[in-house]
Symmetry: C2
Amino acid sequence: MNQPDRTVLALDAHGGDRGLDVSVPAALQALAEDPQLEICLVGDRHSLERALAQATQRADDRSRIHLLHAESVLGMDASPVQALRRGRDSSLWKAFEAVAEGRAGACVSGGNTAAMMAVGVKLLGTLPGIQRPALMAYVPRPRGRTGVLDLGANLNVSAQQLAQFAVMGSVTASAVEAVERPRIGLLNVGHEDGKGHETVREAHALLRSLPLNYVGFVEGHDIFGGKVDIAVCDGFVGNLVLKSSEGLARMLLEDLRGTLQGSLRSRLGAALARPALRRMVARLDPSAHNGAPLLGLDGVAIKSHGSADRTGMTRAIVEAGREARRKVHKRIEASLREFGLETST
Amino acid sequence: MNQPDRTVLALDAHGGDRGLDVSVPAALQALAEDPQLEICLVGDRHSLERALAQATQRADDRSRIHLLHAESVLGMDASPVQALRRGRDSSLWKAFEAVAEGRAGACVSGGNTAAMMAVGVKLLGTLPGIQRPALMAYVPRPRGRTGVLDLGANLNVSAQQLAQFAVMGSVTASAVEAVERPRIGLLNVGHEDGKGHETVREAHALLRSLPLNYVGFVEGHDIFGGKVDIAVCDGFVGNLVLKSSEGLARMLLEDLRGTLQGSLRSRLGAALARPALRRMVARLDPSAHNGAPLLGLDGVAIKSHGSADRTGMTRAIVEAGREARRKVHKRIEASLREFGLETST
């Protein structure tokens, strides 16, 4: 099914909280947005046929859709061990297998992150020097978006690993975002050289010696301030920063909704301002930035948020298409070698 | 100047980016809000006299204000070493000295945090078992506020230190917030027992053994979700979570402002909804939650944000009054001893 100008993606159609109800319409939406895509829906063949029949109007809507049957589905709470032991017939496994065997350029799943990591490492392997893949998410900022990594896969990291994250983030942003020399920052409790614990100080020295556009230490507020394109941190910090930001954004938007529904006067005001407010909420909506690459695997894999809606899943699929087309993993491998970071410490 | 029903505070009047312009009006505002307060303004006597003359209308406005002269001012970028070596004549030092000598029940400063820590440890000393004080900030949530600690003083912490933070936060919330059994959460990358690195898992086991209202591991979004009253983490994580949240809140509010000023229709809508929006912004404003106690010192000291405005500084002063009145440090000392956490590891 691989045509030279086509990018084939394997989509774990059962991944995510809402399974086929989200993944099938999202796949069709992504195909409409990106005419070079082909999507291989991985899951229970009968359910997929049924969902497709409901979602598509004409036969030619299906010309760029393929089906790949999988016997089972991994639950959202599947552990890595369960995924590896009992997951071989699952839609997640089959999606990764399609990438490993060269039948797809990337896979996408909204399933359990740890299970996805484990299956990804097993089937695709990691790049030389990478112990575990890192997860990078995008957050909005006044113009564009900032990539933050790692988000939870690597809790205790060395300075060398932080430098690897920086390289992987930089390569991805320049390949996918068309940012020529992405500005890289290392998250710390202050900008000054002596700040922070030993690992970040060591990573700071290492990053300065590399031919990256490294701007130095940055602070928490710089993530949303537009000072950097990529913010680097260990997975413990990254996970907490991202999840607390999600929590705060949710509270603020709910507050705004409640505020505007308060008095008659506010309701009238809100009605008038609605189109502008909708645009703002849409831009801030995590769905608009869904699609987190697992970087460091020898292949392209994109994690979609478990609770992603159709818009969110569409974004993750389109992101996968871009990364597959640019063979981001091969560029990362070349850069790690060029920078002497291809050995693990 | 100590009357039995009065609480005397020493205010470093030069601390903070805007010095006397903020601290003097804030002091008067705090006195108006809390009739039991007396405030000792610490700084250059002449400048203070002038600022007071401008800010007060009648002589009796000054009945609860005292002046304490200080020869010098520590800059906002003063290092701990500079503060200790050359800071003995500074307003910060004199404010802490007033607490150390029992002339004030608490001190407040908007100066450099690290310098404040150093001077606080030097003059007040730490409580038994505490290596360095922890900084606790409050963040808004749908109802009330959540205390988060530590915010940057302790970058590498042991499980025992995390447990000490939990006790200090719990005691403070129950004394000051009148929360009977504050719900304590330990920040981690997931709720499940096996999640996270060794230190948080060890702290989790320790916290479960203590007679606290410990609810277990919580995630980043729980800070703003109202699941806990106190969220505990190391200072590296706490600093990044707080500063990234501040950055996000600032971006969202600016976005909202820009959105509502866009079209004529939006501007009209915004004008109608303005009173409601103002209330919302005021609630989310960091000023409304200013005043971070340094916990673990043998005395009460409150850090005000360097960029705090008059409203913010007023909140910090009122907070200091509450903590001084309840002798929070003595309650913390008693709890640490009761829980067997009075030895440092």
